[in-house]
């Protein structure tokens, strides 16, 4: 296997200081490949991307990106490191007071002193990639959910990052757009030599483009390997997840008291 761009070792994290959502995660993201992080809803996939981006600090353990220990960086170094990362947010997170065009131009204007013509060229190129060149003057409130996601994608790649993180890039897209986005992610990865991390539930699409898949559940990486290896895995958990069976070892419920007991409680008093 090639070098790892991101090395996560024994990471613990807790939102409230009580419930640990990770109990020692080890994760490697190989350079130049597409890695998928999958897992049941609420296991902390989005949180993992935020740890990599330095927006959250682990309570314990190390998060290393391109040889830099992210939680230990000072503000300036962290912001420098982030210039080489792109993140597609689950919600898109476009700046609502700027037009589509200006949203994509925003990171360029903030970091470089390019001429207007140059900015225009770059922005239109990125918009063309996601098929929204014609929507450049629309405000985010005038875009549909799927269109927002595509604009956000164009914005995330505008600074030509080394590491791209996609949080649920496939949800809410029509089949044609979905196909385009899947191809786009793959092509960006191959043509620009990016390293990509995809967080998704979509087994079909994800397995079709990922080189490496990690399944995160109950605070641990429970399985990792190529899509082929996972499909042929004999672990009951992996089989359940990949085939989407309702019954099996994978937890569907948020941790809770016993169901019958909980119902009875209401009748006692």
């Amino acid at each position: 296997m090639s070098n790892s761009l991101v090395k996560i070792r024994d990471v613990h994290f807790s939102w409230d200081g009580r419930r640990d959502i990770y109990s020692g995660v080890d994760l490697d993201i190989p350079e130049g490949k597409v890695t998928a992080i999958m897992g049941p809803s609420g296991t902390g996939k989005t949180t993992m991307l935020r740890l990599i981006g330095g927006q959250l600090k682990p309570t314990q353990g190390s998060v290393e990106v391109a040889g830099q220990e992210i939680p230990k960086l000072n503000r300036k170094a962290l912001y420098l490191a982030r210039r080489r990362m792109g993140m597609l947010f689950q919600s898109g997170a476009l700046l609502t007071d700027l037009s589509t065009f200006e949203n994509i131009a925003f990171p360029i204007r903030e970091h470089y002193d390019f001429s207007e013509t140059m900015i225009r060229d770059i922005v239109l190129m990125k918009l063309e990639l996601v098929g929204l060149r014609g929507a450049r003057d629309l405000m985010p409130s005038e875009l549909s959910g799927g269109m927002k996601r595509r604009v956000a994608l164009a914005r995330a790649i505008v600074l030509d990052p080394v590491l791209m993180m996609y949080d649920e890039p496939f949800t809410g897209l029509d089949p044609v757009t979905l196909g385009t986005i899947v191809t786009l992610i793959k092509e960006l990865n191959n043509a620009l030599g990016l390293t990509s991390v995809i967080v998704s539930h979509d087994i079909g699409e994800t397995f079709s483009i990922a080189d490496h898949v990690c399944i995160l559940s109950e605070g641990k990486i429970v399985a990792a390997g190529s899509p082929e290896e996972l499909k042929n895995s004999d672990s009951a958990f992996v089989q359940q997840f990949v085939n989407g069976h309702p019954d099996g070892p994978m937890p569907f419920h948020y941790p809770a008291d016993d169901y019958a007991e909980d119902l009875l409680k209401g009748h006692k008093s």
């Binding site: 935020r50 981006g53 927006q55 503000r75 912001y79 420098l80 982030r82 210039r83 990362m85 792109g86 993140m87 947010f89 919600s91 997170a93 476009l94 700046l95 609502t96 925003f106 990171p107 903030e110 970091h111 956000a152 914005r155 600074l159």
Partner: protein, 262 residues
């Protein structure tokens, strides 16, 4: 006994929470102040915020000042005329406005008009992950979003207060002289003789600078630390106005005691 322990525990938790909140808001303030250089380097951002925070507050400040000036003048006249002292009307109007009403009412109006808007805007940007996405684009939201709004408020309120003073005194003059027939010459000459530039006007402006600092600090802090939900943003906006009002009135007493009591 257990009641006492319970009480002590609650008191302890309250004090610890309060201290932690104070610490957080001071560290936040420091990081906002560190953004001063970025604001200087990009005056366009600052000017845009001065427009939305300051210029757009002009109208409410202007009309409030007219009415307040008229009321003070009218009430003052009815009292003074009993003692035959109506030529001191100018002095009374000017001193009440400059020392007290312009800084205090200006700050209260400003917090309702601009502070609440700043809180809601920053809070919503947080709730919709716009601030988080900026961070990931390597743009520090404290420097790009919060600092320009903070400094815009700091600059705008003192200027609005000076406008309040001028408009208020003039509308007081109109009521006094045009309606009640107070002699215009004595109205202005009393002001000229008795209102000291350094003592009265400067102190009024100092008050407004202190209020501007506190009101915008509260506004940006509440917005930036709002719970990222619609309820959280609405609570933060309410808090912003309520805390600002309490801080303004409390500080006003302290400042007045320091400046004018002796």
């Amino acid at each position: 006994m257990s009641g006492l322990i319970n009480f002590l525990q609650r008191l302890g938790a309250f004090i610890i929470d309060g201290m932690a909140g104070l610490g957080r808001s001071v560290t936040f303030l420091i990081s906002v102040l560190m953004g001063f250089k970025d604001v200087l380097l990009r005056p366009r951002l600052l000017i845009r915020e001065i427009y939305s925070v300051g210029v757009l507050s002009l109208l409410i400040i202007f009309f409030s000042a007219i009415f307040v000036g008229m009321v003070v003048s009218l009430l003052g006249y009815t009292i003074l005329v009993d003692f035959g002292g109506e030529e001191s009307l100018g002095l009374l109007v000017a001193l009440t406005l400059v020392r007290e009403l312009a800084p205090v009412l200006g700050a209260l109006l400003f917090s309702g008009r601009a502070g609440s808007a700043v809180t809601a805007e920053i809070g919503l940007m947080k709730a919709t992950e716009q601030l988080a996405s900026m961070e990931m684009m390597a743009v520090d939201p404290i420097r790009r979003i919060v600092a320009p709004r903070f400094f815009a408020g700091l600059i705008s309120l003192p200027i609005l207060t000076i406008i309040f003073m001028a408009v208020g005194v003039y509308s007081g003059y109109l009521v006094g002289s045009e309606w009640k027939g107070v002699d215009a010459g004595s109205f202005w000459s009393q002001i000229q003789n008795k209102v000291e530039f350094r003592h009265d006007i400067i102190n009024g402006i100092i008050k407004s600078i202190v209020f501007a600092f506190v009101v915008t600090w509260i506004a940006v802090y509440q917005g930036y630390h709002a719970m990222p939900t619609s309820e959280g943003v609405s609570k933060a906006t309410t808090n912003s106005v309520v805390y600002s009002a309490l801080a303004i009135l409390g500080l006003d007493f302290v400042l007045t005691a320091m400046m004018f009591a002796s």
